[in-house]
């Protein structure tokens, strides 16, 4: 017996799960399929940063809107998700970096973010745990973080409660536009619409439909330290985007910054590259000297799909009226609740509560 859902969602990361919530709330029947278990790739293994200051200026308004949603999530989902609205410092270690910091701060201010500027002395007074080597910093009250580990299971329960059918370990083997059928290793799924929320794998799904959707792969590394006395009240980011750092609820520090591990989608590896990791850790200890004596308990790496302009894809897949995509935002963990919601709105109603023209999935399609 052939069952047809209103929407077949491909990919159970943050974009897909939040899209499911919005679709289900508007009365749509939804099946969410995933090649493995849901919430095990980028959404789960990222460092949990919800920083505005490390976003592209064009994404600042979207990040602020996303943070409005984040602030409601704990109540909406009825569980702790490790949300800490701490504010954050973005630091520069040289005059060159300080210039870059200032330039980006101005561009972000034009897009509606307010930041305050600190010189070395002001920073020493306000945050003595940051090294005197830091020559300048900007501070935003908006920068925050949350726990990917906590959000995943909570979100899953909410999506199941909303009536969404979750099918895991169903790898997509083909997608037919003609009858909107997603063929998988666990059989076919039919929809009135299809939503591709497959992160780094979205290009492979798009290719099954004849679409060339450029997505590059980053393999980002994250490390966690042993628990330490509570010293770092705010999230820290870097003028060149090469460091994120926060101390989470058990006292451990999470260190990221997009340093590259080793692996590809084809070989399915995501290994730590220790030659790169050492630079990541040295930089962290240079910015916050108190980190130096701490043990690193674990380091890991995860995939991140990246578009040529680092802006997400969100909209209709070019040439298809009933196939949609939302994928690959730089800062996807931060933007996920908003991107998923906008995709859900777009599929359910044909309109979105925020503009999505910037994210047109056809912007790199040359005819």
């Amino acid at each position: 017996m052939k069952q047809t859902y209103d929407v077949v969602v491909i990919g159970g990361g943050t974009f897909g799960l939040f899209a499911c919530l919005t679709l289900a709330a508007s009365g749509k029947t939804v099946v969410l399929i995933d090649r493995g278990a849901i919430w095990i790739e980028a959404s789960a293994v990222n460092a949990g940063s919800l920083a505005v200051q490390n976003k592209l200026p064009a994404l600042v308004p979207y990040t602020l809107w996303a943070l409005d949603i984040w602030r409601t999530l704990q109540d909406r989902l009825g569980a702790q998700i490790g949300l800490r609205h701490t504010g954050g410092y973005k630091v520069a270690l040289s005059e060159d970096e300080a210039q870059r910091l200032e330039q980006v701060a101005r561009e972000q201010e034009e897009k509606g973010l307010s930041v305050s500027r600190l010189d070395r002395q002001a920073l020493r007074t306000q945050a003595s745990w940051i090294s005197a080597e830091v020559v300048a910093a900007t501070y935003s009250t908006q920068d925050s973080f949350a726990s990917p580990t906590r959000l995943g299971p909570v979100l899953r329960i909410a999506v199941e409660k909303a009536g969404v059918h979750i099918v895991e370990h169903a790898e997509v083997t083909g997608v037919r536009a003609r009858d909107l059928c997603v063929e998988t290793t666990r059989g076919p799924f039919y929809g009135r619409s299809i939503a591709i929320t497959s992160g780094a794998w979205s290009a492979q799904i798009a290719a099954m439909l004849g679409n060339d959707l450029p997505i590059l792969l980053d393999v980002n590394m994250v490390s966690v330290t042993e628990p330490a006395p509570r010293t770092i009240p705010q999230i820290v980011t870097h003028a060149r985007g090469v460091l994120t750092l926060k101390q989470v609820s058990n006292g451990s520090c999470l260190i990221g910054g997009g340093w590259q591990g080793i692996g590809t989608l084809a070989d399915r590896l995501k290994n730590v590259d220790y030659d790169q990791l050492i630079h990541n850790l040295r930089l962290a200890a240079r910015v916050i000297p108190g980190l130096a004596p701490l043990n690193i308990l674990r380091s890991w790496a995860g995939y991140e799909g990246v578009t040529p302009d680092s802006l997400p894809y969100l909209g209709r897949l070019p040439g298809h009226s009933d196939i949609y995509i939302a994928a690959c935002a730089r800062g996807g963990f931060t933007l996920g609740p908003l991107m998923g919601q906008l995709l859900g709105e777009f599929i359910a109603t044909g309109t979105t509560s925020r503009p999505i023209d910037l994210f047109n999935p056809g912007r790199f399609t040359h005819v």
Binding site: Q80, P227, P229, N250, G251
Partner: protein
């Protein structure tokens, strides 16, 4: 033949005295802290911050960090993979309070 050699071939090194929580413990040169503590009947070496559980030697190969102890001058080390030495001062690591608690 091979297994017999393994059993008879293990000889304890030179005796070593160190302390755990102020208590004098005997170990042998080349042995790990965890090994010496287990022989002294000490299984739990630390307390978890949230549930106040006792934890100790678990994976035995430096992966799980359950046997974390504090060594004077070294900070937190894994008891399973840190050798004993004369006069070593070993203590439970300072349990961090958990904000979730």
């Amino acid at each position: 033949m091979f297994s017999a050699r393994l059993i008879s071939g293990i000889e304890a090194g030179r005796p070593i005295q160190f302390t755990y929580q102020g208590q004098s413990i005997q170990g042998f040169e080349g042995e790990s802290i965890a090994s010496a503590l287990m022989r002294a009947g000490i299984i739990g070496v630390r307390t978890t911050p949230r549930l106040q559980d006792r934890r100790g030697y678990y994976c035995g190969m430096g992966i799980c960090w359950e046997c974390s102890v504090e060594v004077n001058g070294q900070g937190v080390v894994r008891a399973c993979s840190f050798p004993v030495s004369d006069g070593l001062v070993v203590q439970e690591p300072v349990a961090m309070t958990d904000e979730r608690a």
